[in-house]
Amino acid sequence: MIIQAFSAFFATFFFSIIFNISKKELIYCGLGGAIGWSIYLYVLHKTQSPVMASFCGAFIVGIFSRIMSKIRKVPVTIFLVSGIIPLVPGAGMYRTMFAIVDNDLSKAATHGILTLQIAGVIAMAMVMVSSFPHHSHSNVNK
């Protein structure tokens, strides 16, 4: 699990370079990805539910991004976009597609619905975090 969290840090870190995020924020972006993925693994271990785990991971990434954007005074998108990347159901997408190629439609439906569920709860987590009231109007964009 430590190796996985560690890898998530570096994966997010290099991803942030792909997104052209400035050098000063790269470490924090990596940190966001590692925190999100650790929470995901922990909840997955406790509940055996990838949907629940994705929700918790995305929720924590959202809160982390809000806090970091206040501290570092840059738009919240920078941390949100990079932190959410490990949680995006790329694996689910691939397995759905693979099952379709394999003509195994019941498997395709299982993976497809799971992927949609995960994408949905990540969206819901972001909605909930973004809907917290802002402290003052001048802070809306920070």
């Binding site: 994966a11 290099f14 991803f15 949100l80 790329g90």
Partner: protein
């Protein structure tokens, strides 16, 4: 004349933000904020992922409407942060109009990270994602290789101005080919599954997905929907690329992979 230069600044700021991956509401907000520093009676801005519309009016002048079509989009989040910061300083009165315009043009020209670093990062991102999804160290090396080959190919295709859909299709096919080559033909990699999943992660439209959700929450439904369809199209083209290669391989060998 002041209002014209102000309008130019607002539009340029909005354009830079929109081109480089900012959310729609942030672009509208920045444009409105900059324009409010002059006493216009009417300020309206409407932003979609492919264009900006701004109208200002005053009792002393005719109504002015400007439209800016935005075609090429990339992801350069540092520019978004810089313009965001600039608009704040401008509104606070710490920048004159010519200064702001000059600084905006400098931001616009700001280069991305060098191509070699970009290729290396895509490779390493793919490699680390393979480990995240349960790959071994041999898989780590193969994914890194796939990522770098694919990144080089992508840069070449973008340079030739091939459409995005086709670039992603080729990307998916490239990942599938090299993945099969190193696991089935040359049995160096342990398992194909994490290699392919890790390698497609750098292609996943992260910015489009995140912004689609954030735009929809903000009530920019048109923008949210068009970004969601952008993300969906990218995902489908990648999946099709990988799928075609796997299917062809299965037809040739007659067996199944995994």
């Amino acid at each position: 004349m002041e209002h014209r230069s102000l309008l130019r600044i607002a539009l340029l700021a909005g354009e830079i933000m929109l081109r480089n991956g900012a959310e729609t509401y942030r672009v509208e907000d920045t444009i409105n904020r900059i324009l409010k520093s002059y006493d216009f009676e009417v300020i309206e801005s409407f932003v979609t992922p492919t264009g900006i519309f701004v109208t200002v009016a005053d009792s002393s002048m005719e109504m002015i409407t400007l439209i800016k079509r935005v075609q090429k989009r990339a992801t350069h989040l540092e520019k978004v942060a810089l313009v965001n910061d600039l608009s704040r300083r401008f509104v606070a009165g710490n920048l004159s109009i010519p200064q702001a315009l000059q600084e905006l043009q400098e931001i616009n020209k700001k280069p991305s990270y060098p191509p070699c670093l970009m290729i290396l990062s895509i490779g390493l991102a793919a490699a680390f994602f393979t480990v995240v999804f349960g790959g071994h160290w041999q898989d780590f090396i193969i994914s890194g290789l796939i990522g770098m080959i694919w990144a080089t190919l992508q840069m070449y295709l973008h340079h030739k101005e091939v459409s995005n859909f086709f670039v992603n299709l080729v990307g998916g096919a490239c990942i599938g080919c090299i993945g099969i080559l190193f696991t089935e033909v040359i049995p160096l990699g342990q398992n194909l599954d994490p290699i392919i999943i890790g390698s497609i992660m750098p292609l996943v439209p992260g910015v489009a997905i995140t912004n689609a959700i954030r735009d929809t929450i903000q009530g920019d439904l048109v923008a949210g929907n068009s970004r969601a369809s952008e993300a969906f199209l990218i995902a489908i083209s990648i999946a099709t690329g990988v799928g075609i290669v796997l299917k062809i391989y299965m037809l040739i060998t007659g067996g199944t992979i995994l």
